[in-house]
Amino acid sequence: MGDSSNQDLISDLPQSIIESILTRLPLRDAVRTSLLSSKWRYRWATLTHLVFDEDCVTLSNDRALFEDKLINFITRALFLHQGPIHKFQLCTSYLQSCPEIDQWILFLSRKDIKELVIELGESEWIRAPSCLFKCKKLIRLELFRCELDPPPTFKGFLCLKNLNLYQVFVASDAIESLISSCPLLESLSLSYSDSLTLNIYAPNLKYLCLEGEFKDICLQNTPLLIVMSVAMYMTEDIAEHMQQSSSCNFIKLLGSVPYLERLIGRIYFTKYLSIGDDRGRYPVTYSHLKIIELYQVSFEDMKEILVVLHLITNSPNLVELQISGSSNTLTAMEATDLDFWDKECPSPCLFDRLKVVKMTEMSGVPHEMEFIKFLLESSPVLEVMSIMPCPSVMDGRLNMLIELVRFRRASARAEIVFIQC
């Protein structure tokens, strides 16, 4: 048994290194090291990062049995654990919501948990227990498909920097006060929490990602925002409701983000921005904005075109622009206000830094072509203009090319790349 000639290579390394090695193993292998020798019996038990998934237990065809095994594994692992737990991650579609979750979260709330990620199967939603709100040291919280109901005594997560809620059922005022009570919040992501009215008050917020149907979004205090990504789903009644209000969506969303560097807008984003009374009130210059990506821009709607124009003309340092169209070809072909481009378009406008432009889903409708023409004329340092037609447009491609070839280019270096698909 004890052969000193073959000396133990690894057990006497410092604890920090052992922990470093064990953390890099899948949890099941890390737990198995307790079978190696007496020195290793409880070494895994002080790991501060616990990552659980379906690989922790042997697969089984019987789903209920598998779930039970996994639940047992997690419960026992927590029970045997010693010391603080800084990260707890459970991501598996094989486990649906179970009553044990409440006890796990209670246990973690007593163990100085800092990062909590829970993503379970899709058929059931978790109801977040109130002990979740007692995890005072949370820095990162990611919850998928759960019901969130902060108790009235909840004063906020004072250390929270990262909040990601995906398909979370929560009341508008609850989520608003949650956000505003996390003073250090830097990154916020809200996806598919339907029909929220959001007033975001987050003085340290840098990264914002919103996705889903929102009744109203107002960035009330987000002066440090750097990246904004919004995918706005809208139903007819929401659109109507918004038409009737007189507030300007553009200002509500982009009115106070002077340090914005990257803007991404999807689905109905430009339409959303175009709603509201906006006569000439655009005080903000986005001097840090370098990349703009706008998808599903409908070029038959003059208002949307105006939104896009306004954005790019107020971004003197824009380097990359990506626009994806979504025009109803029939209506768009009958465009009547084409003279806009000659009369009202700000003519001595120059995009001094614009280097890359990508136009995708182009149908070749008049307004699209005019827009491209406008860009080519006003971008003295342009290097690449790539155009990808809509896959369904086959006949119009030749016409598009004929027009493109004719456009004047302000930049001698500009390449026009027509991507066939």
């Binding site: 052969d3 290579l9 690894i10 470093s20 899948p26 079978l35 020798s37 045997l80």
Partner: protein, 351 residues
């Protein structure tokens, strides 16, 4: 070249060198920019001004031997150059890390003592890759770990061990096999103990020898004493739910009680009976430790009462599980269990 020329040229040509001393006493010179990549060396140079000459060489921690030092310096020499791309660095790292496990462990240790975190991360990752997916035997083989866990402790943790009763059975058998081997070593000790005990009943023996059939009880009790001790030893290291043995021992205790003899024989039992909690699961086994010499002459009445109660309790329990236990006994009976136990069990059953 005149001296003046030399003086002009030399300052530009000289690279700074740092003197490092490893634990075995050997000293070497290393380019300063390379050595400074290690925080610990950096600290020594800046905070303490060491390393500028041979006499003031920086002593490196003990875990850094010359071989490891040269590896570490190779690493530093590559990475301290700023212009390299991430891809280049990654590919260097992949090649660098290819070495046998022993060196990998030494390197991890050395890098840690020099506080060179990127290298520690790299080696930790490599060691994790070595460990991942291997069985405990393979891992023990690679790292020369001692196999010093009992069979019980080797049951995979967090697995619900009641899943498979055969595992528990197997575990018991393995444990017993090992104990039998150990017992042979201990046999000498046991014999001296027996002599010691026999001393007390010498008069009894003499009177028996002289008086003919005298104290059959005595013989029985001394026999049961031996049985007890052997059982106790088995009990010492076996898992708690070795129900057969506990039954056997207990029935012996009952026998002694019935015979109304030797109070001293009872003493081993209280400890033993009380080690039979209602534990079904052997996940957290209860280890029972006794000294062989722990046999007293006195036993106070309160304790005796307690023993009686426990014995009755256990009798009741035995009765209810009897058919099941019978099965178990019969199947294990073939494993060469001492006949006495079975015999005594039957005696108990008939009462």
């Amino acid at each position: 070249m005149s001296e003046f020329d030399m003086a002009v040229i030399q300052p530009e040509m000289i690279k700074s060198y740092i003197w490092l001393q490893t634990a075995d006493g050997s000293i070497q010179q290393v380019e300063q920019e390379v050595a400074m990549f290690c925080p610990m060396i950096c600290h020594e140079i800046i905070q303490k001004g060491m390393g500028s000459s041979k006499t003031y060489a920086i002593s490196l921690p003990q875990r850094v031997n010359p071989c490891m030092l040269s590896l570490i310096l190779d690493y530093c020499r590559f990475h301290q150059v700023t212009g390299r791309s991430n891809k280049e660095r990654k590919s260097f790292d992949e090649k660098f890390i290819r070495m046998d496990t022993k060196r990998l462990c030494e390197l991890t240790s050395a890098a840690d003592s020099l506080q060179l975190k990127p290298l520690v991360d790299l080696t930790s990752r490599a060691l994790a890759r070595v460990i991942e997916g291997k069985t405990p035997e393979e891992i023990r083989e690679i790292f020369h770990l001692p196999d010093d866990l009992t069979e019980e402790e080797k049951l995979e943790p967090l697995k619900n061990s009641t899943d498979d009763p055969r595992i528990r059975l197997l575990n018991r058998l393995y444990a017993r096999k090992r104990k039998e081997l150990k017992e042979r070593e201990h046999l000498k000790n046991v014999e001296t103990e027996e002599e010691h005990v026999d001393d007390r009943s010498v008069e009894d023996l003499l009177s028996f020898i002289n008086g003919g059939n005298g104290d059959s009880k005595v013989l029985k009790t001394s026999k049961s004493k031996k049985k007890n001790r052997r059982r106790k030893e088995q009990q010492k290291n076996a898992s708690v739910d070795e129900s057969i043995e506990s039954q056997g021992k207990d029935s012996n205790g009952l026998n002694s009680v019935c015979n109304g003899t030797g109070v001293d024989k009872l003493h081993p039992h209280p400890g033993e009976t009380s080690t039979l909690p209602d534990v079904e699961d052997d996940t957290f086994p209860h280890k029972v430790e006794f000294d062989d010499g722990d046999i007293d002459d006195e036993i106070d009445p309160a304790l005796k009462e307690k023993i009686d109660r426990e014995v009755e309790d256990f009798a009741r329990r035995l009765n209810s599980d009897w058919p099941e236990r019978m099965q178990e006994i019969l199947s294990l009976g073939q494993e060469g269990r001492p006949v006495n136990e079975n015999g005594s069990l039957r005696r108990y059953a008939s009462t």
